[in-house]
């Protein structure tokens, strides 16, 4: 499996990670090598094998839908990069009409 620069750009966009243009070739080569390693899986006979999602085949635990935690907004927002009036601030996402 060999990835091109454009593949890396696409994956980086999907993952929302900025990659410098000068790093693209090195990353394409590293990721291709890792995919070559992973390629060994295709030789395994998995006909009829159930995918294993959990090591202990456990069922998801449920609990009553009740409030169990107290509100700690101020505490949690004290470590945020930018907040105002109890809200997290991000750049404008909706343009004015």
């Amino acid at each position: 499996m060999s990835l091109e620069r454009t593949d890396v750009e696409k994956i980086a966009h999907l993952a929302r990670v900025e990659i410098g243009g000068e790093e693209l070739d090195a990353i394409a080569s590293d990721l291709s090598n890792i995919l070559d390693l992973v390629e060994q899986l295709s030789a395994a006979d998995t006909e009829g094998v159930v995918p294993m999602a959990h090591p202990l085949h456990m069922a998801q635990r449920l609990r009553p839908d009740e409030v169990s935690e107290e509100n700690q907004r101020e505490l949690f927002q004290s470590i945020a990069p930018q907040t105002e009036a109890g809200l997290y601030l991000v750049p404008k996402v909706i343009d004015q009409v």
């Binding site: 995918p51 635990r61 990069p81």
Partner: protein
């Protein structure tokens, strides 16, 4: 005997006898870290003020006659565990200034037992690495040979305990990150059964594989520390609701008739012959103790690393999506729009290995590739798990090397991700299956530690500790300290 030469049982006895207070003990280790850690870089943060306060409170508890083997004992936590009031970085620039608003369950439970937190240990960034070279805070050096790696990702915890800068430490293991550094640094390191120790407040890497455990200088110490860490936690949705046995009670149990399986795939051409000899010598000791040894097969062993490098990156790409520069963690300067905020905050905050794994995971989960990669890997994971199931129908424990060689040199594999990944070849399969495993030191090779790995069936931690402890009754390798750190 100086305080840093004692194990946890001896330290607890000294505290009770009044030979020293917890404040004196804590100060001794803090001073040792300040004097010696410049050579190793095993700590990211030192929590001197809060450690001394905790020690003072522990002294009051001891004075009131309170029982509890961990009261007043200072340890170090891997910097992956959230600690209220102490910086938690996970070895990443992303969390360089992150102070958690709460304690991880492991931290809270040990605090309640009277444990003192000395500081937070260095680690591969987000626990992604096998050499501790991916840390934003620089590599850690192996105290047995400072030109070699300590292993990873819990490399700081391993180096700190090996150099006796802390009597014990916590670690986490997603593909070998407790056992491999324990092996390379000459320690006892236990990865419990998946779900045995709570993952709450332990920064997530691959949620179906991550598990916390103790890193100590003996199996008896590991039993004491695991006792304080293990147990059901309603805050972890995959926590095991299983009773916690008394891990110290069965340490001396007789091993006559114990059935030991040696997987032939763990003794193949990839194994260094001197390491193989050390491991075989240790297994011969078990024969002398009355154990029966037989060859077994784990036929899908060669698929463990490829499976892991689909499953772990897939889960990591999802888990690390939370680092978006909005609620906590690194945010880039002057983002021009929301997408720019995400991309640059993550591009600047994550190091090269973390980006590689996020991208592999994103690719494996992307439209059109899911069946070929993720689904296939989860199927092979089932085959790997079944290999162990069949093995445990024939034997009580599985033994083999923890690693294929002794500690490799700093920089030796850091430019070649695939060669680094293959260094976890013997440890990864147990995470995929969710089984417990322990590494204990056996005869070193050219002055460098070698680990014997013992793998058990689900929730067989007490049995593993018993098997490990009995070897430590007839050997002294676990007591060895690097000459320059005596």
């Amino acid at each position: 005997m100086s305080m840093h030469e004692k194990n946890l049982t001896e330290l607890a006895a000294g505290l009770r006898a009044g030979d020293y207070s917890s404040v004196e003990l804590t100060q001794h280790f803090l001073d040792r870290i300040k004097q010696r850690d410049g050579e190793l870089n095993s700590f990211i943060s030192l929590s001197e003020a809060s450690a001394l306060e905790q020690a003072k409170a522990a002294d009051a508890r001891l004075k009131s006659g309170e029982a509890g083997p961990l009261i007043g004992i200072p340890i170090a936590h891997k910097d992956i565990f959230c600690t209220q009031g102490i910086k938690t970085t996970c070895g990443s620039r992303m969390l360089d200034s992150f102070i958690s608003p709460y304690d991880a369950t492991v931290v809270a439970k040990l605090k309640a037992e009277g444990i003192v937190t000395l500081g937070k240990t260095n680690m591969d960034e987000f626990a992604m690495g096998s050499s501790n070279e991916t840390s934003f805070y620089g590599p850690v050096k192996n105290p047995w040979d400072t030109t070699a790696v300590p292993g990873g990702s819990s490399g700081g915890s391993a180096a700190a305990v090996a150099a006796r800068l802390a009597p014990a430490a916590t670690g986490t293991d997603t593909g070998g990150s407790i056992r491999q550094p324990a092996a390379l640094c000459g320690l006892t390191g236990l990865k419990p059964t998946y779900g045995r120790v709570s993952r709450y407040g332990m920064i997530a890497f691959a949620s179906s594989l991550d598990q916390a455990g103790p890193m100590t200088t003996s199996a008896a110490d590991a039993a004491l520390l695991l006792q304080g860490m293990a147990g059901f936690d309603r805050r972890d949705s995959t926590s095991a609701d299983e009773p916690v046995p008394d891990y110290s009670a069965g340490l001396d149990g007789d091993l006559t008739g114990l059935k030991i399986g040696l997987p032939k795939e763990y003794f193949d051409d990839g194994l260094d012959s001197a390491v193989a000899k050390s491991v075989e010598e240790a297994i011969a000791e078990y024969r002398k103790m009355g154990a029966e040894v037989k060859e077994i097969s784990l036929p899908n062993t060669h698929l463990a690393v490829p499976t892991y490098y689909v499953v772990a990156p897939a889960e990591c790409s999802s888990n690390l999506a939370r680092f978006d520069g909005v609620r906590y963690g690194h945010r880039c300067e002057d983002p021009k729009d929301l997408e720019d905020l995400y991309k640059r905050s993550r591009g600047e905050g994550f190091g090269a290995e973390v980006k590689r794994r996020i991208m592999i995971g994103t690719y494996a989960l992307s439209s059109g590739y899911y069946d070929a990669y993720y689904l296939k890997a989860q199927q092979v994971r089932h085959l790997i798990s079944d290999d162990f199931k069949h093995a445990f129908e024939q034997v009580d424990v599985i033994m083999g090397p923890t690693t294929a060689s002794t500690a490799f040199g700093l920089g030796e594999k850091s430019d070649d991700p695939v060669s680094m990944y293959l260094s976890d070849i013997y440890t990864i399969a147990t995470n995929l299956a969710g089984l417990p495993g322990i590494s204990i030191p056996v005869a070193p090779v050219n002055g460098k530690p070698v680990g014997l790995q013992i793998i058990g069936d689900y929730f067989a931690e007490a049995r593993l500790l018993n098997v490990a402890h009995r070897y430590q009754q007839v050997s002294d390798w676990h007591k060895a300290v690097p000459a320059s750190f005596e």
